[in-house]
């Protein structure tokens, strides 16, 4: 039974037999002290805070007043559970940092806070008296009728009693008839009472539901989690690079050194030839592992930043690349990494597909945004669709709230433009 909402219960035949009518009554009745408390608090804070605001002391009180909707709404959400087991979600965002200032800043900027403030005012001014009236009326009528015989006996010793101050009852049968009427009315009243509670609950739900703000919070969290994923991926990349560098590469160097020494000691034949071949193989493996490590995560990017790393890529490019990067200071690590790999992809594309004779990388950091252009004088026709590497680059940049713009008409030239904020919203650092 308790898994039903009041509204569902109301249309069932067994409504009167369950606890729901009582819950509805309790829901409406408990509004009265709660609303009264809110009213007193609001008035007190407004009057005292307003009066003292002249000497600035009152301003914190006014701020508390503005935030009064937050605890009120929290209580209301709990109270709603009396007649509606479907919980009402919290529309508030967790503050970005710990501490009171951050909490205040987040709350005061949220639409949900102000909606809750409005709700608190409505509650204090209109809702609770109305609910008090409804539930009080029902209790007074039914209670009055039911208690008629008792009152008659207690007050006038069985002579007469005024039923609901309307009708004068002169005898016990009349008094018991009134009580009986009360007993009949009680279940009848349970229905309007229930509907009143349903209406009240619907109002609460509409006003306090996590609406657009909740969606914002979800989008925010999605952005954050996406950034965390990329971050974890980067961390893993660096770990692999470190493991290769500190492990396999060092061992290969040691092996190559040992082989080199062995060649010095051994006679030229027959062992010398084999040693020379082994030595050469070790050398080739070292070149391969060096290139592999650089592709996974270049150390120069960590040590010297984006400009040096891009110069390095340009140096290796088959197509001559002019680099002109004006980056006065180091960028956040995720931005550096994403832009670096984007430029690597772009330059690799230039070398592989464009047929260009020259390429250039030009970029600047204006303190707010990093803008980098990669251009070539090749055949054009590049595209970001069809599972191309550029699609991956665009996805990667979008995690950082960045954009990728491509202009590549057939016949060229191709210009790729990366635009990334210096401090993306969801940065994990």
């Amino acid at each position: 039974m308790s898994s039903l909402t009041l509204r569902q219960a109301l249309v069932r035949r067994r409504y009167l037999l369950g606890a729901m009518p009582w819950r509805a009554a309790l829901y409406l009745l408990s509004s009265v002290p709660a609303g009264l408390l809110v009213l007193v608090s609001v008035l007190l804070l407004a009057v005292v805070g307003g009066a003292l605001s002249v000497v600035l002391v009152g301003l914190p009180l006014l701020m508390v007043l503005a935030l009064i909707g937050v605890p009120v709404a929290a209580v209301e959400r709990r109270r709603l559970r009396l007649i509606d087991p479907v919980p009402l979600g919290d529309p508030h965002r967790p503050p970005a940092r710990a501490g009171l200032a951050s909490w205040l800043g987040t709350r005061l900027r949220e639409r949900a806070t102000w909606r809750e403030f409005g709700y608190a005012l409505l509650f204090a001014g209109v809702l609770w008296p109305l609910e008090g009236l409804i539930v009080g009326g029902v209790l007074a009528v039914c209670g009055g009728l039911l208690s008629t015989p008792v009152v008659m006996a207690a007050v006038t010793g069985g002579d007469e009693v005024r039923v609901l101050k309307l009708h004068l009852a002169h005898s016990y049968p009349q008094a018991f008839a009134a009580a009986l009427l009360g007993l009949v009315l009680l279940p009848l009243f349970a229905y309007p009472l229930g509907w009143a509670a349903v209406a009240r609950a619907a109002l609460t739900r509409a006003l306090l539901m996590p609406g657009a703000d909740g969606l914002d919070a979800r989008i925010e969290e999605l952005g954050r989690s996406r950034m965390r994923l990329v971050d974890a991926f980067e961390a893993e990349r660096r770990r692999i690079e470190r493991d290769l560098h500190d492990g396999a590469q060092q061992r290969l160097v040691a092996l190559s050194m040992t082989l080199g020494l062995a060649r010095l000691e051994s006679p030229p034949e027959p062992l010398g030839g084999l040693l020379a071949a082994a030595h050469e193989e070790a050398g080739k493996a070292l070149v391969e592992i060096r290139e592999l490590i650089r592709g996974i995560h270049p150390q120069v990017l960590t040590d010297r930043g984006l400009a040096a790393a891009v110069e390095d890529v340009a140096d290796r490019s088959a197509v001559p690349v002019d680099v002109d990067l004006d980056l006065p200071e180091r960028l956040p690590r995720p931005v550096e990494t994403a832009v670096y790999f984007a430029l690597c992809e772009a330059l690799a594309n230039v070398a592989k597909h464009s047929g260009a004779g020259r390429a250039w990388v030009k970029g600047r950091d204006d303190g707010e945004r990093l803008t980098v252009e990669v251009g070539d004088d090749g055949a054009g026709g590049a595209s970001t669709t069809g599972g191309s590497g550029l699609q991956g680059v665009a996805d990667r940049l979008s995690v950082l709230d960045g954009r990728l713009l491509l202009s590549s008409p057939a016949g060229g030239p191709t210009v790729l433009r990366l635009d990334v904020p210096r401090a993306p919203a969801h940065l994990v650092e």
């Binding site: 160097v253 050194m257 020494l261 150390q299 040096a308 290796r316 002019d322």
Partner: protein, 214 residues
Amino acid sequence: MLRVVLAEDSVLLREGLVGLLKRFGHQVVAAVGTAGELTAAVAEHAPDIVVTDVRMPPGFSDEGLRAAVALRETRPRLPVLVLSQYVQRAYAEELLDSCDGTGVGYLLKERVGKVEEFVDALQRVADGGTVVDPEVVRQLLRHRRDPLSRLTAREREVLALMAEGRSNASVAEALTVSEGTVSKHFGSILTKLDLSLTDATNRRVLAVLAYLRK
């Protein structure tokens, strides 16, 4: 015989290098694993040469290289041979820039395998020579590509005519453009060839042109 201070954080390689140097009759006076220890060991032993890795604890970034550059600032005559896992122009340039580039070496670690070449390079650095890994040289050269390739076709035409000793007016006539256009082209040629306009005396430009024609 050289007295060597060796800095390398991998124990395996450090021991290997000590053995290798000993085999060729050199003496490793200190073999350390961090940049801080390197600086201390140099102060203590005043070696003939320092051999150091680039990436070392505590940060596993380029501590070894930085320590080497710093050492050469305080002791300009101290030969330093840097062993690196990467071909990195930025690192090599930084090292070569320190104290006119004499007595420095930047070698890929894998070069150590060619033991005789390595020991030979060590000796040359100790004697005040400059040794740069062939791979790095290749990259340095590729970076300093033909400066003419940066010019547009039109700028090359202008440059070719100027190289014949023509005046701006004469170039303008030959290309049927205005003199202003020619001087604009000329300005951008100077910029692209890294010649600032203040140096643009005729003699200088002619020298450059003569050089470019070669």
